[in-house]
Structure formats: structure tokens, C-alpha cells
């Protein structure tokens, strides 16, 4: 484990003014580079070419020297502070277990021993993690090496990097480090081979982001040491601040806070401010908090809280129901009449839910800001305690999804999620960094979607082509058949159990309810192809309008059940490497579906169409 001397020192922000990446002796790099045989680690390329040719108004002063020198690529380490972060996070995670162990073994006195052993283990793993993790950025590839016994080297071509995600939880922030995840589009849905660096300094994270996505700047050179996860309002062009920004008090505050932080170091260095052109697209407004209770986020937070409490009470053997305050509340509650209980209980639950949902919204989306940065990246920053900054390369953005869950839709709200290769979309899209607009007024979501993709407005909001009577009939048949099955089951159960008659009578209410849902589902159903964008909309309880670029479609699936065949419908699915990997147009009439697919992808489908195989397209 021989390590060049300079490596350790360079990760401190204070050392940053030395453009280490440039001045480092190539031999130093070679010495440590025993691993992957990179073809040309010292080749001058875009790395050294300087930013000017990329059309970015970047200060040339710091990099003028860089161009002339030999750009040395060398292995770098995480910040030394990561040695502290790692054990502490591990210990926090182990806390319930440790507490349990302490209590279990307190009689024998071995509890302390267990705790000490765990702490030592955590500290040692932290040291090992720091000592064995190294990364290297060459002109062509990024390498990450980690592991003590099983050494593993991950590498990714730089032109495959689609997103850079910088996160920092409380501990990270206290120590001034953050975690950088690099999204490559490979293994999109698997987590085992994640390319991430846990514990680099903010300055390093910022230059990593610049180097990897914009292809400009010198890694480790003197970039302004702006905290990446803090909203940086500084480089914004004066004229470009959109109306939204100035309107909320929140926006004003964070702009004021961000400005000096970002501008400071560059100004001190006597250079022109690094003018990476930033165009703010949207910023959180406090009034959007009202949308928080209308999404599932509140329920998720509630679940997490409940789980945490259960885990702690389990581990510590405390019987919550027996504690003083809880007994007191329960006693008071049982003194009420039934009506009072319903009123009081209901309002407590409602108010509690609203507060928790709002708290969740604040925790996730505080300081939310979406900005176009440079010529070809989007930057999303957000978070109150744990902050996150996601950078999405525009060239990897394949579309957007505007989702309107029923309640949110009722309040004319919507949210907007990016469909990009390299960004995971799964459970709770906003957890995975692809949120472009948090739950907000629908008009905002539509405006941002159009602005980001450069779409005409009516693609995000305009009417769609409906799927006709057969599709409508299918919506009703499916909804009513489902309702009838449930009602039959309920009737059978009440008959078998001699249950009260009102149960099955009440269950009849499912019929009109499902008819309403069917009507709404049909109203939502639609598609459109315009200007190379495929738009499809489905769903009622969770209505989504997916807009994907026809260029991003890398295959088709056509699915037809026996019932659909009788109704002359099919489900057309476009497969893509981005987002959810597949986007469907449901229950579209056969002729329309084939025409849509043929129009969207030109040559791909035509050879397989019966009539047009011979005729000219």
C-alpha cells in the first residue's frame, strides 16, 4: 500500500490553489498506478485543452498554465476526514443493536466490552476504507479501487458518465465532506457495482462534477471552493433571474447566503469569477408546502418514524404503553363520549398527518432549486438536514414524467421527474434524485418540463388523442369486474360467517366508485406524437404523463391479451435505456398503435408491417 506523499495533503481545501492534477510529477502517478493498465494516462486531451473551446466563459487564468504542462493523472484518496465519517455512520446505524447488547449484557458486565469491540471494529473499518479507497481520473476513464483483501477496481469511460450526485448528511456537513455517486447507465437497476466515493471534500466534489460532466476544468485545480450542495446563486447572470426567484422570502435568503460563499475564493485569488452560466429554472416557494399532505410522502415519513420507534423500543425493552405520559393520554381519551372520541381522534390524526407530511416535504425539498448550468447540464439541489445535489447531463435527458396523484390533481398540483439514462427511477422517485419539480402547482411543473426539454407548451399540457370506445368499454369492464369479484367475496364471507347484512349492502358502494374510477381512467388515457416526442398518459389514482424522445426508443413490445384481441386493442410499449426502462401506451386501437410506433421510430417497425413491407414508406 505505498502511497505518494502528496496524495494525503491535497484533499484539504486549503491546499487546493496548487493545481495538483497538473504539476504532479508523472512518475508519482506511475508509482502508485499498479492497477488497471490505462492506455494513455498522461495523454493531453479535453482534460488539458481548457474550457474556452467549449464555449464556456470560464476564467482562463488558472488554467493557462495547465495547458502547457503535462497533465498528470494520479491516484487520489478520499479526504482524511472520511476516516471519522465512516465509523460514526456505522455506529449510528448499529446504535439500536448496541443498545440492545448493552442492556442484555449489563448484568454480566460484558456489555461495555461488546460496545468497545464494536467501536474498535468500526474505527478499524473506517481506517481501512480510507487507506484502501483510491480513485483516478484520466482523459478517458475514471477508476475506483477499494477493498483490503478482495481488491476491486471499477472503471468507467468518462463519456459514459451521465449524472453526478453529491449528497451530504448531517455528519458529512459537520465535517465538510460529501459523498459523490457517479451514474453511468450501466447496471442501472442493480446496486452492487455502484460507483461512489464516500467522503471527499466539497471542493473535490465540485471539481469532480465539473470535470466529469462539463468536461472542463482541471481536477484538483483551483476551482472556487463552493460548497456544492449549497445553493450557489452567485454565477447567475443578473438578467436571468426569473420571476419566481425573487418572490419568496426563502429564495431571497438562500440567494444571499449562497452568494459570498461561491464568489469568495475566486475573488480572493484575484481571478475573474468562474462564470459557469447558470440559469435558474425553478426554486421552492413556501406556499408549495400546502401540497405536501396531498402526496404519499407523509405516509412514508410516518412509516419510517413508526419503524424507528418500534426498533428502539424493541432493542431497549421499554414498554411504551406503560410509560407515564402515554397512560395519562389514554386515560383522558377513554373518558370522552363516542362522538367526542371520533372528533378528537380524527382531528388529532389529521393534524398530525398534515404536520408530518409538511415536515417530510421540508426535510426533502428545502432549498429546492433547479438550474441549467453551463451549456449542457442541469443541477438540482435540495434538502434541509441531508442535502443533495444532482447534476444531470442534458445529453442524457430523454424525457420527463409529469405525475398527478389524485389528491394532488384535485388541488391542481403536479410534480415532474426527469427521465434520464443513469438516473434510477423506482420507489419514491424523489428519493432517487430525479425530481425536477417537487409537488407544486401544475403550471410550474409543465413550464419546467417544457423549458428543460425545449418543448412547445402544448406537449406538456395540451389535449391527447383518445383511444376510442373499445378502450372505454375495457376500462369499465375491468373496473366493474374487479368490483363484482370483491363484492361476491364479501357476500360469500358474510353468508358463511353469518355476518350482519349491512356489510354486503355497504359493499355495493364499490360499484359506483369503480365506475367513477373507470370514467376517470378513460379520461386520462391518451397518446400523442409530435415533434419527435412520444407522449402517453395513463392512470387515475396516480395519473402520469410520460414524455419521451422518439430517439430514445430502443425497441418495441406489443402485448395483446385474448380479450384485447377481440376488442381490437393492443398495448404498445417503448423500451428505453432511461428512467423506468419502458413506457406504455395502453389499450390503443390496433391500427393507431402500429401507425404510432411506425411514425415514432421510422425504419424500425416498417419492415414488419404487412402492408408497407412492399409499398414505399
Amino acid at each position: 500500500m505505498t502511497v505518494p506523499e502528496m496524495t494525503g495533503a491535497s484533499d484539504e481545501t486549503a491546499m487546493a490553489p496548487v493545481p495538483v492534477g497538473v504539476t504532479a510529477d508523472p512518475s508519482v502517478a506511475e508509482q502508485s498506478d499498479a492497477g488497471p493498465s490505462d492506455p494513455q494516462p498522461f495523454d493531453a486531451g479535453p482534460f488539458a485543452a481548457g474550457p474556452s473551446d467549449r464555449g464556456l466563459a470560464m476564467a482562463g487564468a488558472g488554467l493557462a498554465g495547465a495547458g502547457s504542462g503535462v497533465p498528470g493523472a494520479r491516484w487520489r484518496r478520499l479526504s482524511r476526514r472520511s476516516m471519522v465519517v465512516r465509523p460514526l455512520t456505522d455506529l449510528v446505524r448499529l446504535l439500536p443493536l448496541l443498545a440492545g447488547l448493552l442492556i442484555l449484557h449489563s448484568r454480566t458486565g460484558s456489555g461495555l466490552l461488546w460496545g468497545a469491540a464494536a467501536s474498535v471494529f468500526a474505527i478499524v473499518t473506517g481506517l481501512v476504507h480510507w487507506a484502501t479507497t483510491r480513485y483516478l481520473i484520466t482523459d478517458e476513464r475514471v477508476y475506483l479501487r477499494r477493498g483490503l483483501l478482495n481488491q476491486k477496481t471499477l472503471s468507467v469511460a468518462r463519456d459514459r458518465v451521465r449524472t453526478v450526485d453529491v449528497t451530504a448528511h448531517l455528519l458529512h456537513r459537520a465535517l465538510g465532506v460529501c459523498r459523490v455517486s457517479i451514474g453511468t447507465g450501466r447496471n442501472d437497476l442493480r446496486s452492487s457495482e455502484n460507483f461512489h466515493l464516500d467522503g471527499v471534500t466539497r471542493a473535490d466534489a465540485e471539481s469532480l462534477r465539473l470535470v466529469l460532466l462539463s468536461g472542463v476544468g482541471e481536477f484538483g485545480a483551483d476551482e472556487p471552493a463552493a460548497a456544492p450542495a449549497r445553493p450557489q446563486a452567485a454565477p447567475a447572470e443578473p438578467g436571468e433571474a426569473p420571476a419566481l426567484a425573487g418572490q419568496s422570502a426563502l429564495a431571497g435568503q438562500s440567494a444571499a447566503a449562497g452568494q459570498p460563499a461561491a464568489a469568495g475564493p475566486a475573488a480572493l485569488a484575484g481571478q475573474p469569477v468562474l462564470a459557469e452560466r447558470t440559469t435558474e429554472l425553478v426554486r421552492l416557494r413556501v406556499s408549495w408546502l400546502l401540497f405536501a399532505p396531498l402526496t404519499m410522502t407523509g405516509l412514508v415519513v410516518l412509516g419510517v418514524l413508526f419503524g424507528a420507534i418500534l426498533q428502539i423500543t424493541n432493542a431497549t425493552d421499554i414498554n411504551l404503553a406503560a410509560t407515564g405520559p402515554v397512560r395519562h393520554v389514554v386515560a383522558d381519551f377513554t373518558a370522552f363520549s363516542v362522538l367526542q372520541r371520533i372528533l378528537v381522534g380524527g382531528s388529532v390524526v389529521l393534524v398530525g398527518y398534515v404536520l408530518i407530511a409538511m415536515a417530510g416535504y421540508i426535510a426533502v425539498f428545502w432549498n429546492f432549486r433547479l438550474a441549467g448550468q453551463g451549456a449542457d447540464t442541469l443541477r438540482v439541489t435540495r434538502g434541509l438536514l441531508s442535502i443533495r445535489a444532482t447534476t444531470i447531463s442534458l445529453s442524457r435527458l430523454r424525457g420527463v414524467e409529469i405525475s398527478e396523484p389524485l389528491l394532488l390533481r384535485a388541488a391542481r398540483g403536479a410534480r415532474c421527474v426527469a427521465i434520464a439514462t443513469g438516473l434510477h427511477v423506482g420507489r419514491g422517485a424523489e428519493r432517487d434524485g430525479s425530481a425536477l419539480v417537487p409537488p407544486a402547482p401544475r403550471a410550474v411543473a409543465q413550464r419546467v418540463a417544457s423549458a428543460v426539454l425545449g418543448l412547445p407548451d402544448d406537449i406538456c399540457s395540451g389535449p391527447l388523442e383518445s383511444h376510442g370506445r373499445a378502450a372505454r368499454r375495457r376500462r369499465y369492464t375491468r373496473a366493474l369486474a374487479g368490483a363484482v369479484l370483491i363484492i361476491a367475496a364479501i357476500c360469500l364471507a358474510t353468508w358463511a360467517q353469518d355476518g350482519p347484512a349491512w356489510v354486503w349492502v355497504a359493499s355495493l358502494a364499490l360499484l359506483p366508485a369503480s365506475a367513477l374510477i373507470a370514467a376517470d381512467r378513460y379520461r386520462s388515457l391518451g397518446h400523442r406524437l409530435a415533434g419527435g416526442w412520444l407522449v402517453s398518459r395513463t392512470g387515475s389514482l396516480a395519473r402520469r404523463r410520460n414524455i419521451i424522445s422518439a430517439d430514445a426508443i430502443i425497441g418495441w413490445r406489443i402485448h395483446q391479451t385474448w380479450f384485447q384481441r377481440r376488442q381490437g386493442l393492443l398495448t404498445l410499449t417503448a423500451t428505453t435505456a432511461a428512467g423506468q426502462q419502458h413506457y406504455s401506451v395502453r389499450d390503443i386501437p390496433v391500427a393507431d398503435g402500429l401507425a404510432l410506433a411506425a411514425a415514432a421510430t421510422g425504419d424500425l417497425l416498417l419492415p414488419f408491417l404487412q402492408e408497407r413491407a412492399a409499398a414505399d414508406p
Binding site: 459514459r160 447507465g185 442501472d188 437497476l189 439514462t421 430502443i554 425497441g555 418495441w556 413490445r557 406489443i558 402485448h559 395483446q560 391479451t561 385474448w562 384481441r565 393492443l570 410499449t573 423500451t575 428505453t576 435505456a577 432511461a578 423506468q580 426502462q581 419502458h582 390496433v590 391500427a591 402500429l594 425504419d603 424500425l604 417497425l605 419492415p607 414488419f608 408491417l609 404487412q610 402492408e611 413491407a613 412492399a614
Partner: protein, 171 residues
């Protein structure tokens, strides 16, 4: 491996039928597989019924299940054989599969990332293999089931050569 006859797809007018059928041995394989999994269900029912001393309701259930399993094992493979078709052109891989529900899949050769072949024990018994072509989309793999083993090997080579000729990262 391209066929020129353009046959309209009776299942989906407008689309044409992929040129090649799968191996006839696939019918036997699918029958055997359906029968085997059905037999497991019936056997479990028999054991459960034996424990409670073969009451009438259990006997009825077993008869119904056995009939259903038998019909499935007879009808499904033949129906499936008539549906399953595939074709490789210079531009794309085109398949039709399923039975009660039918899937058509089209994957451009230029977007194919990996091609592999997998043989389960059952498939090997019947001299069969399947070929899977994956694309950059996790939802986009195209599988051809029930191919003759030698044909599968040749197809694998052919696709490997064809996909190797397209530059780019196929996203």
C-alpha cells in the same frame, strides 16, 4: 435466416408474421413441463386430502384440478407452438410469443448489447436451447425459446457478429 414471404399476422392484422417457427420438440418439452408442474400441485392436494381422510370436497377439488392440469398440458403447448415465431433481419430481431396473451418484440440489432444462450436440464433432455438478446433497456430483452440446439448455436454466432459491427454505446 431471413424469409421473404410476407404473411399477414392473423392475430394482429397489419403486422406480418415472423418467418421461423421454433423446433417441434418444443411441444413435447412444454407438455412435459406443464405436466410435471401440474403433477406437483395434484400430489400436494392428494397428501393434504389423505391427511383429512379424503372428504368429498377434497375429492371434487382433486378431480377439478387434475382435469384443469391435463387440459392445460394438452392445449397450451400446441397453442403456444402455433404462436411462437422468430426472425432475424439485418436490422432487427423480431419475435412473437405467448399463447393466451401474445407478445411481439422488436429489438434493433444495433441496440443489442449481449447475446446469451441458456439450457435448463429439461431443455437439454429435449435437445433444445433458448437465445436471449439484451439491450440497454432493462425492459428490452428478447428471448427465443424452444430452438433446436444447433440452430441456437448458429444464431448466437450470427448475432454476435452482427452486433459487433455497430459502434456506439447502444443507448
Amino acid at each position: 435466416m431471413t424469409t421473404d414471404n410476407v404473411v399477414a399476422d392473423p392475430l394482429l392484422p397489419g403486422l406480418r408474421v415472423p418467418g421461423n417457427r421454433v423446433s417441434r420438440r418444443a411441444i413435447s418439452y412444454w407438455t412435459a413441463r406443464a405436466a410435471a408442474s401440474g403433477a406437483v400441485v395434484v400430489a400436494v392436494e392428494l397428501v393434504l386430502a389423505a391427511v383429512s381422510g379424503f372428504p368429498a370436497i377434497w375429492r371434487a377439488a382433486i378431480v377439478v384440478t387434475a382435469t384443469f392440469v391435463g387440459l392445460h398440458a394438452i392445449i397450451m403447448p400446441r397453442w403456444r407452438y402455433r404462436v411462437h415465431r422468430w426472425e432475424v433481419t439485418d436490422e432487427a430481431l423480431y419475435t412473437r410469443s405467448g399463447w393466451f396473451s401474445v407478445h411481439w418484440r422488436i429489438a434493433p440489432i444495433s441496440r443489442i448489447q449481449t447475446i446469451d444462450s441458456h439450457r435448463s436440464v429439461g431443455e437439454r433432455l429435449f435437445g433444445l436451447a433458448n437465445v436471449t438478446a439484451t439491450t440497454a433497456s432493462a425492459a428490452g430483452p428478447v428471448r427465443i425459446h424452444g430452438l433446436d440446439r444447433e440452430l441456437a448455436d448458429r444464431l448466437l454466432d450470427q448475432l454476435a457478429v452482427a452486433t459487433g459491427q455497430t459502434p456506439g454505446d447502444a443507448t
